[in-house]
Symmetry: C2
Subunit: 582 residues, 2 copies
């Protein structure tokens, strides 16, 4: 037998018991004729004591144990003289009578402690050692707990988890597919799913009514930013519902998660239209943990001889509360920030509302105190506030630039508190977005999203103005998920494909099975998908999804621990009827 | 609003309520001036009534509804005159005041009823319609329920579900891999996992202690028999345990499933060594719902001048109880059965124990009544029994042939009752099995399985006799799962690879990451994996796993509904640095 107890459960109530423990040597120290060893497992740490007076040989063996050795000990639970109230087992220690080394360990390449000295690359190569560290392991325990709670909740709401296939069909729409050559069908390929979208819609046609799945999805995209080639989705679909039903149900799920996993009561989620989100925050995923909404001064800025404003189609700004004390240097930093190529603004105008009530701007040459009072009113400034303004010709661009500036100010002012959670539904997304590169409209959500009935007429006259029955859940400025009410009839789906530039033949070849299915009694339906990795990382208070994934890939899509991808045998390629061209 | 209630919930308690229901037209019939329509959803069926006296136009519209039309109705719950006690809603019907057709439906290509007239191919092409049928849908509901119960149970036992990657590394060991060309790493390939084996072992090295995952696995094998290219595994691993712990825990899980899902109390599972299973049943997955164990009469058969027995290394048989009345024709059928090429026996000997007590065999020429009495004693026959005997030179072959005959007799005698469940642990598997084709030993389980410590010495002298710490769970003659205690130290793992014909370089290239991990403090560990599809099909009383999978593939690995696999664009191949050779 390897253990009678784990390393996290013995307390003063167990005094006198003979126990067996197994685990890893966390650390060891000598004190007089004694050696103390902390033995660790997933459940906790227990202190072992070896006394040379009792057994000099045993103590000598214990003294030789290295960090991360796997040991098994038999001993008696005794009371500690030097108690540690921070540890659940801190009142006791084990007086060891027998010690067995189950496995030796080489010196780990980095410290297995909460704060490690290991760099990213080393920790990825030895991911199995990094996973021993508390902060990393606790993320995965959290992930497990969240998955359990999600399943419990959706089961209680009559959802059925159905596994959809991983070997499906490649479609040119959307992101790039990972493909899998078929040995049995030479020259043909499966694709790994970017999402189970069409299958979950077919399940609705089948009458499953409420479907969900926690499922891996795959996108062969360049891995800039915080992306992984494989990621996990909480995928859901419902029949005989309207948008309101879906928002309510998944708000319920999210609040259930906050309550059961984090013990937090979150108020009802506010809702905001896409247009309003863009107008107030310059983003369809605003971080509403703090205010600092955009204020439009295009009109009051004009006609004072300041060419930047006079030539601008838009002049908008934010009130960075209590930041009037910002120095010239700090303001220069902000200007540098917004001038970075990825943001691309040309300049920033500011106005200080000084503590003495006076108003002072970077454009005093054009705006006297009376004019600035109009700014002050527009931004509702108080003494101590700082107004930052951007202007330009392209409204969308300026809004996006100011969004970046707002988030930067949020960071600088400590307003983006990891322990505060601000969920938001963004609704009424546009159905289509114009793509400059391909010079055609793309589906903003996906081609199966339904237009608002009252906007369908505009599909021909003003496609960009057609709104969709689509919605996103945003938490703290991160898009957690999105969904839509789907098209459920063949004619509208065909029309949609036409507007996306498909010929009828292409549409039939790629999605004929779905349009055919719509002719056999398809119910009204809609759904949502949450990014599970993102949701866990938000709950864990992390910036990256990499730390909530057991074995993530690096930015080149490589698993450096197992060294994948790798070359394969020529024989394997022959069987698959493929050749590599490099 | 699409509905106030589902089609399965209204009862006499709801009389007088105005309700909204949505669903599919199951069937419709006219009676006098009335039309009755059964409307169906996932939850049940409710009868609608349209009366021409109340609203002739509405009734006319209702009359025109086709099967599988999707409708929404508003109406009042009234008591039925003609009650149907078999239906939960059989006491009531809905007097409809408004009807809306949500979607029309073409005539389905086959009947959407429990007994359908659709052939296999048609049902696969229109799988979304087949999934509307009760027997198919209920399998998937069962599957969902089982997955939920498995997760609940394992969570209660401190197991953590960890998602392991799908894009991993191809290994030449085991079955054929599906591979995925990497765009970012030209000329290199990922492989889809045949199982998360190495990852779960690394999680044990990481100290996760108890891991599980319900996970898709992939094998590119020829799809004869009841196999799918993608299948689902309940994958588990534990640290600091011995074989006994694993058997107990997963017996607990299985009994929990029988109890919660089927309401059955199953007794403790018997255990049997591999050798005993082969001796008594000629199979490592015996169907123990019925006895009919093998009886060896090699010795008592010899020396009577019957050349088949005299030349045989083995003569074994079964007692088919109460089958003495088998006719010549039936016995000929059995002989034909065992002579089929896939079984390959050359002949069958039989002995009847007649109702009058006399013994009559097909080899009376060589065996008189006194000799046959010895047979009777060996087989413990009673009047009315039938003994069937096979003999030959190759013991393994004859046992396998008799296994087939035993199962056939079990079928004929109705002993393989789908509502009876006989689980069995088969233990002490051989570590290695000789492969004629490659002329080397293969791992019977996999290369990470540990030999029994007392047998390690035999690895060099008699590899075939080395037993493994490996075990299978068998239910009703189907292998539900298997597992082993793993090797957890580098030297033994290297030795194992050597015996499997790997050079040290090959072993390091393929599995270096695992052997390296063993040097940093690997705990003793072991695990098990259950075939989830099989387990569900056993619970559902089905012969094939195809009917417990929402979207299965056919025997050529094709999804005929979506038409996958399919060709891909040349541009896609270029990006992936591959060419097809057909």
């Amino acid at each position: 037998m390897h253990r009678t107890h784990t390393c996290g459960e013995l307390t003063i109530a167990d005094l006198g018991k003979e126990v067996i423990l197994s685990g890893w040597v966390q650390k060891s120290r000598d004190l007089g004729g004694m050696t103390f060893i902390d033995v660790r497992d997933r459940y906790g740490i227990t202190q072992l004591v070896f006394n040379a007076d009792d057994d000099a040989e045993l103590r000598a063996t214990a003294r030789d144990l290295g960090r991360e050795f796997v040991i098994k000990v038999i001993g008696t639970v005794i009371e500690r003289t030097n108690k540690n109230p921070k540890m659940p087992t801190g009142d006791i220690e084990i007086k060891v009578s027998r010690l067995e080394v189950l496995n030796a360990a080489k010196l780990p390449p980095f410290l297995i402690e909460d704060e490690t000295d290991g760099g990213d690359d080393l920790r990825m190569k030895y991911r199995y050692l990094d996973l021993r560290r508390n902060p990393v392991r606790s993320n995965l325990v959290l992930r497990h707990k969240m998955a359990q709670e999600i399943r419990k909740y959706l089961d209680s709401q009559d959802f059925i988890e159905v596994e959809t296939p991983y070997l499906i069909k490649s479609t040119p729409e959307g992101a790039r597919d990972f493909v899998v050559p078929s040995r049995m069908n030479p020259g043909e390929f499966y694709a790994l799913p970017q999402s189970p979208q069409t299958f979950k819609q077919l399940l609705m046609v089948s009458g499953f009514d409420r479907y969900f799945q926690i499922v891996k999805c795959f996108r062969d995209e360049d891995l800039r930013a915080d992306r992984q080639p494989e990621f996990t989705q909480i995928d859901c679909e419902m029949s005989f519902i309207e948008q309101e039903d879906i928002l309510n149900l998944f708000e319920g799920l999210t609040r259930h998660m906050f309550k059961t996993v984090k013990g937090l009561d979150i108020a009802e989620f506010p809702r905001m239209s896409y247009d309003e989100a863009m107008r107030l925050y310059g983003s369809d995923k605003p971080d509403t943990r703090f205010g600092m909404e955009f204020v439009d001064i295009t009109e009051i800025g004009k006609g004072k001889g300041f060419p930047v404003f006079d030539n601008a189609d838009i002049a908008i700004g934010i009130n960075a509360k209590a930041s009037a004390s910002y120095t010239r240097k700090q303001l220069d930093e902000l200007t540098d920030f917004i001038k970075r190529p990825q943001i691309g603004a040309t300049g920033m105008i500011y106005m200080r509302h000084n503590d003495d009530g006076s108003l002072k701007s970077s454009v005093d040459k054009f705006f006297n105190e009376d004019e600035l009072k109009k700014w002050s009113e527009a931004f509702q400034t108080e003494p101590g506030d700082l107004v930052l303004v951007l202007a330009g010709q392209n409204k969308d661009k300026v809004r996006k630039q100011l969004n970046e500036l707002r988030l930067e100010m949020g960071n600088r002012l400590g307003l983006r508190d990891r322990n505060k959670f601000a969920p938001l539904w963004v609704v009424d997304f546009p159905l289509l977005e114009w793509d400059e590169e391909t010079a055609r409209y793309h589906a903003m959500h996906h081609p199966f999203t339904s237009p608002k009935p009252e906007d369908i007429a505009k599909l021909d006259t003003d496609p960009g103005a057609v709104r969709a029955n689509a919605y996103d859940l945003v938490i703290n400025g991160t898009e957690i998920g999105g969904g839509s009410i789907r098209i459920h009839n063949r004619e509208l789906q065909s029309l949609m494909f036409k507007h996306l530039g498909f010929t009828p033949e292409e549409a039939q070849k790629q999605f004929g099975f779905l349009m055919d299915a719509f002719e056999y009694g398809a119910p009204p339906h809609g759904g949502i998908a949450f990014g599970f990795d993102r949701l866990v990382s938000i709950f864990a208070g992390l910036d990256t999804i990499r730390d909530v994934i057991a074995f993530p890939k690096n930015n080149s899509g490589r698993d450096v621990m197992i060294d994948a991808p790798s070359t394969i045998d020529e024989k394997q390629k022959e069987e698959l009827s493929i050749k590599t061209t490099v």
